[in-house]
Amino acid sequence: MPLLWLRVTVGCYAAGLLYALALLSRRGESWRRVIVPIVSLGMVFHFVSLAEAAAVEHLTLASIHYSESLLAFLIMFIFMVVRVKYKTTSPGLFVFPLVFLLTFAAAMGQAPPKSGSPLLHSGWIFVHISLILTGYAALVLSFAASVLYLVQARSLKGKKGGKHPGVISSRLPSLETIDEIGYKSLLLGFPFMTFGLVAGAAIAQARYGPIYFHDPKVVLSLLMWVVYVILLYTRWNNGWRGRRAAYLAAFAFVAALSAWAANFFSNIHRFLAP
């Protein structure tokens, strides 16, 4: 059943994906009114799917598909918060395709082998993973915002009065708003990310001792966290925004992606360790 709901969700998010594509052309306008109800409906199914999977099938957070699905949900959640607060769906340009891919992968993937490790059922691991995923989700939104900032700044600088000054840019919110979305997401994500890492470290310390620090995923996560701190600091202290902030955010995003992908190289996070 959860898989069925998840597939319905994928269908709804696919509409979001199409909307993101339509935004690139002139047609997007008429979609705007229907898209939010559709993806909201998707979120409802998504939530049902997540809750049911957790409750009925005891799928743990550590299963890769489940965490993909949860990450997608968290991203959508933050997206919705942004939408309500700033009345803009433009981060959807990035968020929708990403969320679609995540849920798609989760829905099409084989049911993962249930891990026997008792560790995965402990409450701490749950805290660890969901905190980190929330941090990721905020980072994704922040990255999306910084790319939108660049697009908008470029179009304003380009002053192409003659041509359409960018079909997309005319639908984007003001630079100030985009900037705020990016910064607020960053601020919001930071405590989650930090506590998530701390929780992870505490678990690993207790279980494996200091060797956990050599794990590639741990190293990458730390790197990402450092970039995160730099991002926040430069923004807070020097008011860095625009191009420099976007590069940093992109870097943090890539670090996050590699940390995510590092499961394949990681011993600890594969839970094959004794």
Partner: protein, 441 residues
């Protein structure tokens, strides 16, 4: 239908003529009442603005001497103004009122006031009680069409003056202009206009520097701004979010180094330079800095031109939309025409059926419930079959615009009482009068 519209607008008549036709607000109810009482006129509405005066009516039989009315009302011989009037009938009148409401007939296409003015005119006419069923439907539809044009095309959303483009850009950069600071460097006419626009959109404070300080002080008083000495230009500019320059300086006032310093001062918060001076006051290279946006007069004009071109393009789309709506409106009106006939046809046949059943009922003796139902079904089936074709024909004739001829034929064939239609129409108008006007009895 019988719509008839006459009027003058900015295209058909010069201002002197429009002035003579303009009806001040206070006298509008009286004018509408007189128009509605004029021979041959059933319903009436007058829209009077500085760019147009429209007399929209529904006539009893398709025509009325509106020129005669105008001549009488304005006490002027018809020949004096006949050349300035336009007159539209039926479908053309519908189209015209749709276009007026949607602001496609305006001097500045897409300007938003006209819809409100038409709505006011409608409210006045309703209050006076000169609008009933058909004009009411027409106007309600016109408002819906105007709304549709507004939401489906971008006619009227783009800025078409240099000052409003500047405001638009400022909003694109800063979002709300609330609490922002504007710095006028040089106090020319153009910068004054730009400043006024920005202030109207909520800008918080205004600094003014001018080579001749008196002029700066004068402007500062006018806008409740603050005049500052021109020598402090570089110290203060960093505090401003929007800088409008219009000095007669022969070379750039602001170059990259200055602006870099401002950026540092303001922790990289964006700045917007509007340079309307010729030669330019802001070095074009400044635009290369991250977070700095420089628009000179040519840039602004280019945006204006693009928006104007856009408007014409969008106006074309809006016209297509209007065409579609006119068609749809006519189709609806025409089907509405045949509905009373269909109803009385049904009633007529039902009376016959009942009478016939009553007549033979006695001879049938006692029947079982099933048999009763069978008789009911049989007789109903027959009249439904008979009615089917006339109804279909009526509806399709209405769609093709031949409603009235077929209505007559059907009425004569089935000997439907003429007064039924009349009473239905009366009821309709009385109804809408009572709900609309609230006119004192």
């Amino acid at each position: 239908m019988n719509f008839l519209l006459t009027g003058v607008n900015h295209r058909s008549a010069p201002l002197e003529v429009r002035e003579r036709f303009a009806i001040p607000e206070a006298r509008l109810p009286e004018a509408i009442r007189r128009l509605a009482q004029y021979p041959g006129i059933e319903e009436a509405l007058i829209v009077s603005t500085c760019n147009r005066v429209e007399f929209l009516t529904r006539t009893t039989n398709g025509t009325a001497d509106l020129t005669g009315f105008l001549s009488e009302y304005f006490s002027a011989p018809p020949d004096e103004f006949r050349g300035y009037l336009y007159e539209y009938r039926e479908m053309e009148a519908v189209r015209h009122i749709f276009r007026v409401a949607a602001s496609l007939d305006s001097m500045v296409v897409g300007e938003p006031q006209i819809l409100g003015q038409v709505k006011e005119a409608y409210a006045v006419a309703r209050a006076v009680g000169t609008i009933s069923s058909q004009l009411d439907t027409l106007l309600t539809r016109a408002f819906a069409v105007a709304k549709r044009v507004r939401s489906e095309t971008t006619v009227g959303t783009s800025a078409v003056s240099v000052a409003s483009v500047a405001v638009d850009l400022a909003k694109k950069i800063f979002g709300s202009l609330q609490g922002r600071t504007v710095f006028l460097v040089g106090a020319g006419k153009m910068s004054e206009i730009a400043a006024r626009h920005l202030l109207a959109h909520g800008v918080g404070s205004l600094l003014i520097a001018n080579r001749t300080p008196e002029r700066a002080v004068q402007l500062a008083q006018k806008f409740h701004g603050q005049a500052v000495p021109f020598e402090q230009l570089y110290e203060l500019a960093g505090k401003a979010d929007i800088v409008i320059t219009s000095t007669g300086a022969p070379h750039s006032l602001f170059c990259k180094e200055h602006v870099e310093r401002f950026l540092h001062q303001r922790r990289n918060k964006p700045m917007f330079f509007i340079d309307i001076a010729v030669p330019r006051d802001v070095d074009p290279a400044v635009n290369d800095l991250d977070g700095i946006f420089v628009y000179d007069i040519d840039d602004l004009q280019a945006v204006v031109n693009a928006n104007l071109a856009d408007r014409t393009e969008e106006a074309r789309r809006a016209e297509a939309l209007i065409d579609e709506e006119v068609e749809r409106f006519l189709a609806r009106l025409q089907t509405a025409d045949v509905v009373p006939t269909i109803v009385s046809l049904q009633e007529h046949l039902e009376t016959i059926r009942q009478a016939e059943i009553d007549r033979v009922r006695g001879r049938l003796g006692s029947l079982s419930a099933e048999q009763e139902m069978a008789i009911e079904a049989l007789s109903r089936g027959i009249i439904n079959k008979i009615m089917h074709t006339p109804i279909v024909t009526l509806k399709s004739a209405a769609r093709e615009g031949q409603g009235t001829t077929i209505i007559d034929v059907v009425r004569r064939l089935f000997n439907l009482r003429q007064q039924e239609r009349m009473s239905a129409a009366d009821a309709g108008s009385a109804d809408s009068e009572s709900k609309g006007a609230g006119a004192p009895e």
